[in-house]
């Protein structure tokens, strides 16, 4: 049963910008449920994790937690879209072996009073591991998008190469986007790159597109598509890529 569940508060670092009130309303029996993704040595595993509306926009809380272990020389590819729920949240905790790789591409998108977030913690525990995270957030109304990305490099994990890129796009006044990159590095021969920006649609591009005859909603759709596409660049399967893009653009089309 759920007697052992201790609900998070915003004092918890990993829930700092979250809608913790929404957590109380969820099925707490699933709060501590983790999906395990185990990648054997030298193999590749790909998962697409999509939190999307089944029909009408949902006001439930959707929490998906993934515990990823990538054995030596393995490769895990995760592609995430968080587009539903009053609170939609995907957590990824990954532990990488020697020469292992983690690829994480994620998009949060939403308006109204929703909070959509991706929280990752990538642990480079052995040498030669690589990781690449690309997360894009698109929000409007009074929507909030959060990315909390932590990278831990253990003292023995030399030659680690970890990269993290986050960009937020705010379509309307009132929406907000929070980025918390966190790097804890205890090895001295490593590469860790991270970047985080938040901005609006480029007004010059919008006028340029209008001057060629594109109505504002079509121009906005093209610009948002270009903006989020970075998150799916590493997704090798065109069908999957299109499916994820359809979820994202479908959300944009219905709720702008």
């Amino acid at each position: 049963m759920s007697e052992s569940v201790i609900l998070p508060t915003r004092r918890d670092e990993a829930w700092r910008y979250s809608d913790t009130d929404a957590v109380a309303g969820m099925d707490l029996g699933r709060f501590d449920h983790w999906d395990d993704v185990d990648v054997p040595a030298g193999e590749t595993v790909r998962r697409c994790v999509v939190i999307a509306d089944a029909g009408e926009p949902s006001d439930t809380t959707e929490l998906r937690r993934l515990r990823v272990r990538v054995a030596d020389g393995g490769r895990c590819e995760l592609f995430v879209v968080v587009s539903s729920g009053r609170l939609g949240r995907v957590e990824v905790v990954a532990m990488l072996g020697d020469g292992a790789h983690l690829e994480l591409g994620g998009v949060t998108i939403g308006g109204r009073d929703t909070t959509r977030e991706i929280v990752s913690r990538v642990a480079h525990e052995k040498p030669n591991g690589t990781s690449n995270q690309v997360v894009r957030a698109v929000h409007w109304g009074r929507g909030t998008g959060n990315f909390l990305g932590r990278i831990d490099v253990a003292s023995g994990a030399q030659k680690t190469d970890a990269a993290q890129s986050f960009r937020g796009l705010i379509l309307e006044r009132g929406a907000s986007v929070n980025a918390v990159p966190q790097l804890e590095i205890f090895a001295d021969d490593v590469k860790c790159a991270h970047g985080a920006t938040v901005g609006q649609l480029d007004e010059q591009a919008r006028f340029y597109m209008a001057a060629r005859g594109l109505p504002p909603e079509v121009a906005r759709r093209l610009l948002v598509q270009a903006f989020v596409a970075d998150a799916f660049v590493a997704l090798d399967d065109a069908d999957d890529r299109e499916r994820l893009m359809r979820v994202v653009l479908g959300k944009l089309d219905r709720h702008l």
């Binding site: 480029d202 340029y208 597109m209 209008a210 060629r212 005859g213 594109l214 109505p215 093209l222």
Partner: protein, 250 residues
């Protein structure tokens, strides 16, 4: 086909256009020349409907419609093309996707059938060849990584594909070398020299006018047209300078 009457416009409360009047008939090419700060680009942006450019007085009629009442994309669909002095880069959006969406949006708003992918590519290939632009460049993102001259030729390829009734070309000649200038000039003639079309060429220099011969030349200064004449006026400007020619006007 374009009638501008007593146009006043301002940016951030600062008046830039101060009673500009101009009429372009179908089949005509008009050149607008003038010193820096005269209001040339402002005129182009006001006609295109750029946000932040506020018309405080006057009217603009285009093909019988009140142009200023239309949104920027509606002006394009009505047949107006604005060639940018500084074409905008749009990372992540390919030229082909952008132009096909733009053309089909215009066609739909006119009640015409959208072009298929194959039909569009044929059209794009034909216009790229006209402007001597490698078709591969149209598969790249809009203007991203293009040199100044490539951006200007790409603008003219866009014009060829969209096939407007009226083009306002804002310093399309800047950034072009001699060979590119000739290609662009011939492209403008091929696309826009027609009895039912009109062109407003905004330029600093006379050299583009060697290729695209204007029917009228106007000198813009202080937000108004201070002098109008034929093609020879541009040559006199080039030889004598704005100050000398405008003094004679005063």
């Amino acid at each position: 086909m374009l009638t501008i009457d007593n146009l006043h416009a301002e940016i951030d409360g600062k008046p830039i256009l101060n009673g500009l009047s101009l009429t372009v008939q179908a089949g005509e090419v008009h050149a607008i020349m003038g010193p820096n700060g005269a209001g040339k680009s402002t005129l182009a942006y006001v006609l295109g409907g750029r946000p932040g450019y506020e018309v405080t007085q006057g009217s603009v009629t285009f093909a019988g419609q009140d142009l200023l009442a239309l949104e920027p994309h509606e002006r394009a669909a009505a047949g107006l093309f604005l060639g940018f002095q500084y074409p905008v880069e749009i990372p992540g959006v390919s030229n082909v996707q952008f132009l096909r969406e733009a053309l089909n949006a215009q066609r739909r708003s006119r009640g015409e059938e959208p072009l298929s992918g194959g039909e569009f590519l044929r059209l794009a290939r034909e216009k790229a060849a006209l402007l001597n632009l490698d078709m591969e460049m149209l598969k790249r993102h809009v203007n991203v990584g293009f040199s100044g001259g490539e951006k200007k030729r790409a603008e003219m390829v866009q014009m060829g594909i969209l096939d407007p009734r009226f083009a306002i070309l804002d310093e399309t000649d800047s950034g072009l070398d001699i060979d590119a200038l000739r290609v662009v000039g011939e492209g403008i003639n091929a696309i826009m020299r027609a009895p039912a079309k009109g062109v407003l060429l905004i330029t600093h220099y006379q050299r583009l006018l060697d290729y695209v011969r204007p029917d009228y030349v106007h000198i813009l200064s202080g937000g108004r047209i201070v002098r109008s004449g034929g093609a020879d006026l541009a040559r006199r400007l080039e030889a004598e300078g704005y100050d000398a020619v405008m003094e004679q006007a005063a």
